[in-house]
Symmetry: C2
Subunit: 194 residues, 2 copies
DNA sequence: TGTCCCAGACCGACCAGTCTGTTTTTCACG
DNA sequence: CGTGAAAAACAGACTGGTCGGTCTGGGACA
């Protein structure tokens, strides 16, 4: 771990830049400033700006998966667990990572880079975690029988959709929380056994 | 209308470019090529690339609102109407307009431009249309009593989320349709009166 | 002749990536 | 433990190319 500390330092600085001005909106010089390093240093650790993005995305996804896993794999009720995840989601709502992924996806011209991105996203365990969560809830009789694979995608879509709506509208947070709560409420009403 | 035919010609060409390579990914010269006009011509009709985007977005949103309105304001059942909208949504799924809006949002540096974008998105009647649809369904006793405003946002979030998931994953369409169907199924199960 | 509409060469800014040189670290060996 | 040289890590000026936007000129039409 410690051997890549500088690499992570750069990646963290880059993430901060990307989060505030997007992938295309941040120049390598911006990352230089934010990281306190020089261009030479950065390009010694990474061979391109795209590689920085892919590296930090992987890192971010690993973290993200860990927190989701921690929330959904406990032994509370399905409702409690997902509600807890929603709270975490609301706390980190100001990090429009998904939007930046879409941006990167659109901007990446090199097909090889896109392939790497797809591979990274497909390797994500996020969907599997959601699926396991749903399967368990069904087995315990909390959820009605469902296509767990598709249901996982539905859940992810809801979260992503909410996050992006927030990102664009930037309305007051109270309203947004109300929407998120209702979304979960509807979801539970739609999947819980009666 | 006819007096802006050239303007619309440019906007249509630009839209095609944006849809395939994103806002940042398409240069003005790309629009020049696609429209068959020259740079001078384009900059006679528009004062900037951003203005082209805002113009075509407005146009696109108007169209979009019309089709949503047409689908949701009929006098069928709430389930029928929303299912019909889903079908239309599936047909036009390959137009990642939302993703491009996010991209534009991230890239626009000028605060004035962002303000215009926000104004445009806030003026959208899309949310109002969904809200009216929900209110009617509640009044007719099809949906249980709900916060219609928030529920409209939930619906929009679901559609947006689904679209963006598709945009990134690009899995086979059958799987995607299954997910979309389940999403609506859960939604209906969550809001219909029993 | 003046106005509208357009063509396309041109410009300055920016930006990812390179190159050359310098500092710091590592480590073999006396 | 000292030391010196090789390798690693970094600094920052520089470059080639791209891109949004301008400018000058010209054709069409009134």
């Amino acid at each position: 771990m410690e051997k890549d500390s500088k690499k992570d330092l750069i990646a963290d600085a880059a993430l901060a830049c990307f989060l505030s001005t997007g992938y295309g909106g941040t120049s390598v010089d911006d990352i230089v400033k934010a990281s306190g390093m020089s261009k030479g240093g950065i390009y010694w650790h990474f061979k391109s700006k795209e590689e920085i993005f892919l590296y930090l995305l992987k890192k971010w996804m690993n973290e993200s998966e860990r927190t989701i896993q921690a929330q959904l794999s406990g032994n509370g009720s399905a409702v409690e667990k997902l509600s807890g995840l929603k709270e975490q989601f609301l706390e980190r709502i100001n990090e429009p990572v998904s939007a930046i992924i879409y941006e990167f996806n659109l901007q990446a011209k090199d097909e090889a880079v896109l392939k790497k991105l797809r591979a990274l996203l497909n390797d994500s365990k996020r969907k599997a975690i959601f699926k396991d969560y749903i399967l368990l809830a069904i087995r315990k009789g909390e959820f009605r029988p469902l296509d767990a694979e598709a249901a996982a995608d539905v859940l992810i879509s809801i979260f992503e959709g909410l996050g992006l709506q927030w990102f664009i509208q930037k309305k007051d947070k109270k309203t947004f929380e109300r929407t998120a709560n209702l979304a979960l409420d509807i979801f539970f009403n739609g999947v819980l056994t009666k």
